[in-house]
């Protein structure tokens, strides 16, 4: 698949931006400057970026508790995201949502739903609306391997399949549902075969390879826009950090994590770009520097932003 150089650099930029955002966010959580829970997407950047690069701005995504990466990949403003993590009025959700509920309707992000699997029906419904109105937009719900065991997932895939809805079900297999390893929770080894039970295509790609994800997503999106219905896209991935920032990770060995770290999608893509004369090292380093700067500005913005006024506590409950 031929991909424009500009798009390749954009992919790299988005992946690095996610990585820097997550590192900064983890730091804030570990220092106790951000409260609640924070679920890093480190290691899975190629999956979210590969998918979202295949989407238009007017396409929609529905996320999970681990959706900082999806939002950045879809074009969200990192300042408003970081402010949300710190519970500030300038955050996307005006401090009402926090890390697990970042929504950015301006970019087509319908929200991060922290009940595993619950974003699936929302995306199905959005796709239904698109189809009823004759629009060629698509909806993309993200879930992990754990999410694919929920009733939400199976009901949603079934409903989208019977109505040929424009949905790409992205299943990011990071191999652990919190501490439960995939083979303790699913009988089949290849999650993409679950698509067969619903009569839709199931595609499995290397989730560390942003171009492989992009290519598969592009094809699934085109199919959906043509009115041919949903696709299950499984991206084989791994989270290089714990389930949440600071998790003890008693359920896996350091050796296993280090083995997967060799597959880290960012250095891999960097090498690809340089080896194939798509980018010069300096150019990529400049992107790295810019990303670091953007995120440190975002942290500064978040820290200096006002907290919500307690007299507004009852706002936004009813329209």
């Amino acid at each position: 698949m031929q991909v424009e150089r500009e798009a390749l650099l954009d992919m790299y930029r988005r992946m690095v931006l996610i990585r820097e955002f997550e590192l900064a966010a983890m730091d804030l959580f570990k220092r106790g400057q951000a409260k609640g829970a924070m679920h890093p997407y480190i290691g899975q950047e190629a999956s979210g970026v590969g998918v979202c690069m295949a989407l238009r701005k007017d396409d929609v995504i529905a996320g999970t508790h681990r959706s900082h990466g999806h939002n950045i990949a879809k074009g969200a403003d990192t300042k408003k995201m970081m402010a949300e993590l710190l519970g500030k009025e300038t955050g996307y959700c005006k401090g009402r949502g926090g890390s697990m509920h970042i929504a950015a309707f301006e970019t087509g992000s319908l929200g991060a739903l922290a009940v595993v699997g619950s974003g699936i029906p929302l995306a199905v419904g959005a796709a239904l609306a698109f189809k009823m109105r004759g629009e060629d937009r698509v909806a993309v719900p993200f879930t992990g391997d754990g999410g694919s065991n929920t009733g939400n997932w199976h009901e949603g895939v079934n409903m989208a399949s019977i109505w040929d809805l424009p949905v790409i079900f992205v299943l990011e297999n990071n191999h652990y549902a919190v501490s439960t390893r995939l083979d303790n929770a699913v009988k089949v080894k290849d999650l993409s075969i679950r698509a067969q039970g619903y009569g839709i295509p199931g595609i499995r790609v290397d989730g560390f390879d942003v171009l492989a994800v992009y290519e598969a997503a592009t094809e699934a999106v085109a199919r959906a826009r043509r009115g041919e219905g949903p696709t299950l896209l499984v991206t084989e991935s791994y989270r290089l950090e714990g389930h949440y920032a600071g998790e003890p990770e008693v359920y896996r060995t350091r050796a296993e994590v280090e083995e997967y770290r060799k597959l880290d999608p960012i250095p891999r893509f960097r090498t690809y770009l340089i080896d194939n004369d798509k980018a010069k090292p300096d150019e990529l380093s400049m992107i790295d520097v810019d990303a670091k700067k953007e995120i440190s500005d975002a942290v500064q913005f978040a820290k200096t932003s006002p907290t919500p006024d307690p007299t507004t506590a009852m706002e936004y409950i009813y329209a």
């Binding site: 401090g95 929302l122 409903m159």
Partner: protein
């Protein structure tokens, strides 16, 4: 209870279960027609679908079959399969897909066959639909209606998994509105308001009221959500009730009127948000209060209404508040066990006499 006919709820039956004259909301000189509660709901759906192309229906067996109680019958023929959508048996996804469609500009009306099945959809109701606007800091709205038949009636209900009254489950959740109409006029006007409202609205239809008839105006109208309705003015006793219990209250009010007791009936036709002032001001006026609701007593609506009375009318009370509720039991099947599971007219009469002592 003798005046509710045993066959009144037979599907498609138009036989009135109590005299429609108990509640007259549209006088004969106003252009209108008599119709059942079920027909009034159907007409509200039809008119809103004609008025607004964003409105569509989704649920199990709602197309040709017209739903478990025939409410949507004929709508499929008029609007077709795109706007009257049969779904698989997937309650959670019916509701969740409704939310997703609402987020991108549609106004779906979903049906769940019995409120008893709403447990299957609870995640999408109380975790997603109710909270999305709040959690996103007002970035979105979720304008949908979830229609669910509920309620039981002595000698006629269908045991523990099809007969409950569960408005309390929804009324406890910020972000939801909960409606429970008691008459055809209210059902039509409140459903139209619910469809036009920008929030998720739980619209509970008392299934034993489906055949109840009443006059409905020809002209388009909507009724306000979040307001009680005074179904009968009185000065001696206030009865606060909702759903089918309003009819028992009205019937009891007629009976005690012969003893010279003047009863005011406050219909809590929107369960949430609760119109506390309407309850409080009626209680201050009469000083004697009977609360009648179908859900169980523990943590049920009468506890909430009673507390409103205490907060707003304590100094005016001339007798302890009496409350009549469903028994704290799953609904049994056998007639002999089921009898007494809910308040009936005779219970309300006795309660009125008690507060008048």
């Amino acid at each position: 209870m003798t005046s509710i006919e045993r066959d009144a709820v037979t599907l498609g039956s138009t036989k009135p279960a109590m005299s429609p004259n108990l509640i007259v909301q549209v006088p004969p000189d106003v252009p209108g027609k008599e119709m059942s509660y079920q027909e009034a709901i159907r007409e509200a759906l039809r008119e809103e679908m004609l008025r607004d192309e964003r409105v569509f229906l989704m649920g199990e067996d709602i197309a040709k079959h017209g739903g478990a109680f025939g409410v949507t019958r004929t709508l499929f023929d008029q609007f077709g399969p795109v706007r009257v959508r049969n779904t698989p048996i997937s309650e959670n996804t019916i509701v969740g897909a409704g939310t997703g469609a609402a987020l991108v500009g549609m106004r779906p009306v979903m049906e769940i066959m019995f409120v008893d099945f709403s447990g299957l959809a609870m995640d999408q109701i109380y975790q997603e639909a109710a909270k999305l606007r709040f959690m996103t800091g007002g970035q979105c709205k979720v304008p949908w209606v979830l229609r669910m038949p509920q309620g039981g009636g002595s000698g006629k209900s269908t045991a523990a998994q099809h007969s409950q009254s569960l408005e309390v489950l929804f009324a406890h959740i910020p972000g939801l509105k909960v409606v429970l109409p008691s008459t055809p006029y209210d059902a039509k006007g409140l459903l139209k308001a619910a469809i036009r409202d920008d929030n998720p609205v739980i619209f509970l239809e008392h299934k034993f009221l489906y055949p109840f008839r009443g006059r409905v105006p020809d002209q388009d109208y909507v009724l306000p959500l979040g307001k009680c309705d005074i179904k009968r003015q009185g000065k001696d006793v206030t009865i606060v009730a909702s759903g089918l219990m309003v009819w028992h209250a009205m019937q009891a009010a007629n009976i005690v009127a012969q003893e010279g007791i003047s009863v005011e009936v406050v219909d809590v036709r929107t369960v949430s948000p609760l119109d506390e002032d309407a309850i409080g001001s009626s209680a201050r006026k009469t000083g004697r209060v009977v609360l009648v609701a179908e859900p169980c007593r523990s943590y049920g609506p009468t506890g909430e209404w009673g507390m409103v009375v205490i907060e707003q009318a304590f100094d005016y009370l001339q007798a302890p508040i009496v409350r009549l509720t469903g028994r704290f039991t799953p609904i049994p099947f056998a007639d002999s066990l089921e009898k007494g599971a809910w308040p009936e007219t005779s219970d309300v009469v006795r309660a009125i006499q008690q507060v008048m002592k």
